[in-house]
Subunit: 429 residues, 2 copies
């Protein structure tokens, strides 16, 4: 190193010298001791290994990004209520394990990505900080109530919920059913890389979420990378989206439908599908839920005895059947007699597609027709995850608990969970 550092501090505008040239940016707090984290003029955060930096010169002291200032309501910009619930977007590198750990407070996130404050005043709410695999229906209901409060607050323009990715699509489904027809946008977002990493997808996802929260798309939507490039985000329907890759930034894919829209970091939006527009009314949160529902996946050779376990412990199950909706219908593991028995004893059994993509059709093969005869109900092109959440929500309501009422409600298109116009061309996986 040619010169000693002039004690550069987070917030300083600096110029660093690397082997191949120089970079200018604002120094951010880095949680990795070996890495300098810089916010470039483009808004991107980039990490540099300290050993690769031969010089660092402070061009301007602090103030460029006011990292130490509290985020205050300007009173001049539209208000977004921002609900942090945990997940990778609220996490940072943990040098001791090489893994990640939670940010200690919400401001840490916004210090790394202050761009959102140029668009809106942000009111931060943190009901809890959880990995999404640790959430359950009580957490979904809690988020729904909090979102409902914001939606019915006339000073709020829209709501963003940041969330872990693993089961974000369960929460987006739950909010879709619990919030009903919306008056304002409710946007769920995430990141696949912790927010303090230079390669994090937080920046684009956050800014695009803000644009959607301020738009007229009054739907429960999931906003995140459309591709592995940092170019634009998809706006995806809450009931027809699924995490399809363990680690890619564009992990959330629309299933059996097209995206609602595409949105760019500069606010440009391209509408792809019809959506519910912003309105003036108030909404009513309906977060009743019956936890006695289960999801299971059928596989060849599986013994139907497992249905006894479900009959004893649950009110209803969602079964991922094969193809157009099949299970074993002959031989020693024939499911038909056991299905007839457990359904007769009161268990609701709903069929969903194990392929994820496409629509069930019980009329093509005799297996499907026989399953209908014993009382299995086919849920068309619904996602298995959405089917489970819907069944829990429906059974949470006394008025829909009879077998006829349950079936009718389960087959009603409550929140876009069925795509009645699904065509072959909708396969954009």
């Amino acid at each position: 190193m040619k010169k000693p550092f002039k004690k550069p501090e987070p917030g300083d505008k600096v110029e660093i010298t690397l082997e191949n040239g120089k970079e200018i940016g604002v120094l951010l707090e880095s949680h990795d001791r070996g890495v300098l984290l810089l916010k470039l003029g483009s808004g991107y955060n980039l990490g540099f290994k300290k050993e690769d930096v031969s010089e660092i010169v402070v061009l301007e002291k602090g103030g460029v990004v006011k990292v130490d200032e509290e985020f205050k309501i300007s009173g001049k910009k539209p208000v977004i209520d921002f609900i942090l619930t945990g997940g990778t977007i609220s996490s940072k590198l943990d040098a001791s394990t090489g893994g990640v750990k939670d940010l200690t407070d919400a401001n840490e996130l916004f210090k790394l990505y202050p761009e959102i404050f140029e668009l809106c005043d942000v009111r931060i709410k943190t009901p809890f900080m959880k990995a999404s695999e640790n959430m359950d229906s009580k957490d979904w209901a809690r988020i729904a109530k909090l979102v409902g409060k914001s939606l019915n607050d006339s000073s709020v323009k829209g709501v963003i919920v940041s969330h872990g990715t693993d089961f974000l699509h369960y929460t987006s489904s739950a909010l879709s059913f619990m919030l009903g027809k919306l008056n304002k946008p409710v946007v769920l977002t995430y990141s696949q890389r912790s927010s303090d990493r230079g390669s994090s997808d937080s920046r684009l996802n956050l800014i695009c979420s803000a644009h959607v929260a301020l738009s007229d798309v009054a739907e429960v939507s999931l906003v995140g990378h459309a591709s592995s490039d940092d170019d634009y985000c998809y706006v995806l329907r809450g009931t027809k989206v699924r995490k399809m890759h363990t680690s890619r930034r564009d992990t959330f894919r629309p299933v059996n439908c097209k995206p609602l829209a595409k949105v760019w970091g500069d606010g440009k939006m391209e509408v792809v599908s019809e959506y519910n527009k912003r309105g003036k009314g108030k909404i009513e949160v309906d977060s009743l839920f019956d936890d006695r529902v289960a999801l299971m996946k059928f596989y060849p050779g599986q013994s139907p005895k497992i249905l006894d376990y479900y009959r004893k412990n649950y009110r209803g199950i969602v079964v991922e059947m094969s193809g157009l909706g099949h299970v074993i219908t002959e031989g020693k593991n024939n499911w038909l007699p056991k299905l007839k028995e457990v359904i007769g004893k009161g268990l609701f059994v709903y069929a969903v597609p194990q392929t994820l993509y496409g629509r069930l059709d019980p009329y093509v093969y005799s297996a499907g027709r026989k399953l209908q005869d014993v009382g299995v109900v086919f849920l068309n092109d619904i996602l298995p995850e959405t089917g489970l959440v819907k069944l829990g929500w429906v059974l949470g309501h006394k008025m829909w608990r009879g077998s006829v009422a349950t079936k009718r409600k389960m087959l009603e298109n409550v929140s876009g969970e069925f795509n009645d116009r699904l065509g072959f061309e909708d396969w954009v996986c």
Copy 2:
């Protein structure tokens, strides 16, 4: 209709007059009374509604396609053993239900698609006719033994297995493990539309399968439509393929890898990935299998009590975990104590990705590290279905039944079930 039909019969070359022009082709047996089925000069079978046909003229009596002749071995062409096991490719429309039913004998299929005989002599074997959801490990073993016999017959160039689509990927996995390193190609194929329909995908899938069976790709592969167009087929690795759509013809997709090759109807092949080449040795079929294995999918809020059911009834389970490999690790439904208990009592628990695409990584989040601590083994980028089949096959062998030996074998890349070089760019879903 201008003239009465001159009694056209299947096999006759005919010219039909439609509102917009004429078509010439060979009349095929049609199982739908209202439809005339014609094989055009291009090889495509097309169905015409009888009410749209104003005239039909017999140009040449029979003989063009010898539909009534037995398919005989010419002795001059390479021999392919063709094993029919059932499924849509062996089915026809059933006018009484509007669904489909099995062809009554194998020749019905080849009468509709005789093109394969131009390439090879076909020896047909029909061990059973089953929908794939009704198959179990005994059927997989039976097919494996039959295929093994053919592979060790020096007069045979390659083997084709036609099969139902629903669980074709289970059978392709099972054959991959049971047959080991191959000396000749073993091709599994299918159709999504019954073979007597004009829009059937049987024609291209059959002819491409024959080209692959005669090629040097000595792998268990699945050959079928690469897109919804009738242009070319994918050759897909048996352990890394999954049915991803209920009804599209290109339903089988490579997961976490690229296709082995592309193949066109005229025999052109484009190699995409490395593969095992045709060799001279004999193979040994290893079809041992332990049925006491199960596949389950984890969902948020799920009670870990279900693990007791599996512990009582199974030797090992494959759990579709969320994200990089997570289940509930806190609160009243914490899975960690129960996992520790059932693993301590001898149940093997293997983690696979619920996202299907991507690779598990237990080191990023504390949930993954804790699961490893209680004895859960992470199966990288394996497909859940392949994981189940592999576990049953491994536990079928006395020498791999101890917990250390099982784990070692489960983590060994036996038949391309892991892609060690998996990159982000391999997402061709």
